[in-house]
């Protein structure tokens, strides 16, 4: 279970998050949505430890993790897929998967991980994680590295960002699979209706506040008639 207590975050005299209180339970697929600049990604980064809140506490499975580092949170079982996957020079897909699994990883095992995100291992395993890969390929590799860690809480920050609609349609299948196979807590920051549709629960953030949360059916009606998502949730960006 993840519990955020009174989380606030302010930068340049602007309140990004305003006293957020949120509890996320095991074996649920949550989607946080809301307009650009509403504080969704900041909240995700605060959970991973990439940003530090000005006030409040974060409790993960009974442990206060507010002041521990990113790697310590990773070791406790928190995984984070970046909105813009990071590129490296010289580090291959296989290298990243080996780092993620923290153990000897055969190419066959790496192949299994990559197949979960719809990539053919033979084509990708020895490729460098750099700009020669497309946005969609980088996204899949990013997700594969997170799944390889077997996290108890997995955060995906806007998986749809930076990829074309065709690639995203395929990626939706990956998330459906994640929902089925990976128990624990799945938390996705997204604007995409296809992702909202597979959520157990949707949380709406506006101007740094959680304004609504509820099950998919109730929330989809609210969101698509709400001015925050006037284009039907498909093209908020």
């Amino acid at each position: 279970m993840l519990e955020l207590q009174n989380i606030s975050f302010e930068r340049n005299n602007k309140k990004i998050l305003n006293n957020i209180n949120l509890r996320l339970d095991e074996n649920k697929f949550y989607v946080i949505t809301g307009p650009n600049g509403s504080g969704k990604s900041t909240l995700a980064k605060i959970i991973m430890g990439i940003e530090k809140p000005d006030t409040g506490r974060i409790i993960f499975n009974g442990t206060d993790i507010t002041n521990i580092t990113i790697d310590e949170r990773a070791k406790l079982g928190i995984g984070f897929a970046f909105q813009q996957p990071v590129r490296f020079k010289g580090i291959t897909v296989y290298d990243l998967l080996k780092i993620a699994t923290k153990e000897e990883l055969t190419k066959q095992q790496a192949c299994l991980i990559l197949s979960k995100v719809g990539l053919c291992a033979n084509e990708y395993i020895d490729r460098e994680v750099n700009g020669s890969l497309s946005g969609g390929e980088l996204k899949r590799i990013e997700i594969a590295t997170v799944l390889a860690c077997h996290p108890k809480l997995t955060i995906f920050d806007e998986p749809e960002a930076g990829i074309d609609l065709w690639s995203f349609q395929n990626l939706t299948q990956v998330f459906k699979q994640i929902q089925k196979e990976y128990k624990g807590i799945n938390l996705v920051i997204s604007h995409q209706e296809r992702i909202l549709n597979i959520a157990d629960e949707i949380i709406l953030i506006e101007q740094g506040n959680i304004t609504k949360r509820g099950n998919k059916n109730m929330m989809l009606d609210t969101i698509f008639t709400h001015e925050v998502c006037s284009k039907g949730g498909v093209a908020c960006e």
Partner: protein
């Protein structure tokens, strides 16, 4: 060889020396072991220190090892090695120099390597440099590599300065005839007060000659590196020069690119990037469970792999 010398050979050679088709082992200024075969002949020079390596036409998959080891503090040597590669021959040459210096005198090995590639010859040349020892005497390596490539030949030069070399000044010059390809991959890691300078000059004389020069370097602590490249295109040709450097602590890297197109169909590119490790790269690896220090090591190891 004593144990220190045996270990040094291992540091600069990935393969067992005796697995080579031909080899020459030089220890403290003397050739101590040599093996030839019917296709590869290694002969000592008569007028100066060094060897001539003759590879016969059409030799296929020949592997040649020429390691140099220095454990005698204060030894300074210049060695001249010439490689004559026959038509359509295909060889791998593994060179490497390891210096162990426990004393206060400087040890220096300056290797002058000249390669003459006949038509259609293919050469992969790998050179590793490594220094170790607790003395304050410097470990100095100044290699000069000169390459002449006849039409249709190709060469890959991989150079790696692993660690512990106090001063190095590497000069590489190549002249390419038509339909030739030269690939140079340089990797250097410097630390403490070490200094490494490299200079490349590639002259593309023939039609469809091409070269790709990649330098990846990491300068840490108070070390200094300088990368200078000059590519001259005298015909319809292609060149891509890429200099990437990571700086850490007080490390300094200077890149001086020069490209000169003397022909309307010459296509020459130079890219250079110097900077510290990107914060987002560290963050990504930390989200996979590495500490900041481990993440930094993984990024540098990958960069220099």
């Amino acid at each position: 060889m004593n144990n220190i010398e045996k270990e040094l050979v291992k540091k600069v050679m990935d393969n067992e020396l005796t697995n080579a088709d031909a080899y020459n082992l030089r220890v403290n200024g003397e050739s101590v072991e040599r093996k030839n075969n019917p296709y590869i002949d290694i002969i000592s020079k008569k007028d100066k220190s060094g060897i001539d390596v003759h590879v016969k036409d059409n030799t296929l998959f020949g592997i040649i090892h020429i390691p140099v080891i220095l454990t005698e503090s204060g030894l300074t040597e210049t060695v001249y090695n010439d490689f004559y590669i026959g038509k359509n021959a295909n060889v791998i040459i593994l060179a490497g120099c390891g210096i162990h210096n426990d004393e206060h005198k400087d040890s220096e090995h300056d290797g002058v390597h000249r390669f003459f590639l006949s038509e259609g010859a293919k050469v992969k040349y790998v050179e590793k440099h490594y220094g170790e020892g607790n003395g304050d005497g410097k470990k100095i390596l100044n290699p000069i590599t000169e390459v002449e490539m006849q039409k249709g030949s190709s060469m890959t030069i991989d150079t790696l300065q692993i660690k512990g070399v106090d001063n190095t000044f590497r000069k590489t010059k190549a002249i390419l005839a038509s339909n030739t390809t030269l690939v140079i991959n340089e990797k250097i890691l410097t630390s403490n007060n070490q200094e490494a300078k490299t200079e490349f000059e590639v002259i593309l004389n023939g039609e469809n000659a091409s070269t790709h020069v990649t330098s990846r370097s990491v300068a840490t602590e108070n070390s200094y590196q300088e990368f200078k490249s000059n590519v001259i295109g005298n015909n319809k040709c292609y060149a891509h020069v890429e200099c990437d450097a990571i700086i850490k602590d007080e490390g300094v890297v200077k890149a001086i690119p020069e490209i000169c197109a003397n022909n309307i169909d010459a296509n020459l590119i130079h890219e250079a990037a110097i900077g510290k490790i990107a914060g987002e790269q560290l963050t990504k690896l930390m989200t996979l469970g590495l500490t900041e220090k481990e993440a930094e090591e993984a990024i540098i190891n990958g960069f220099l792999k």
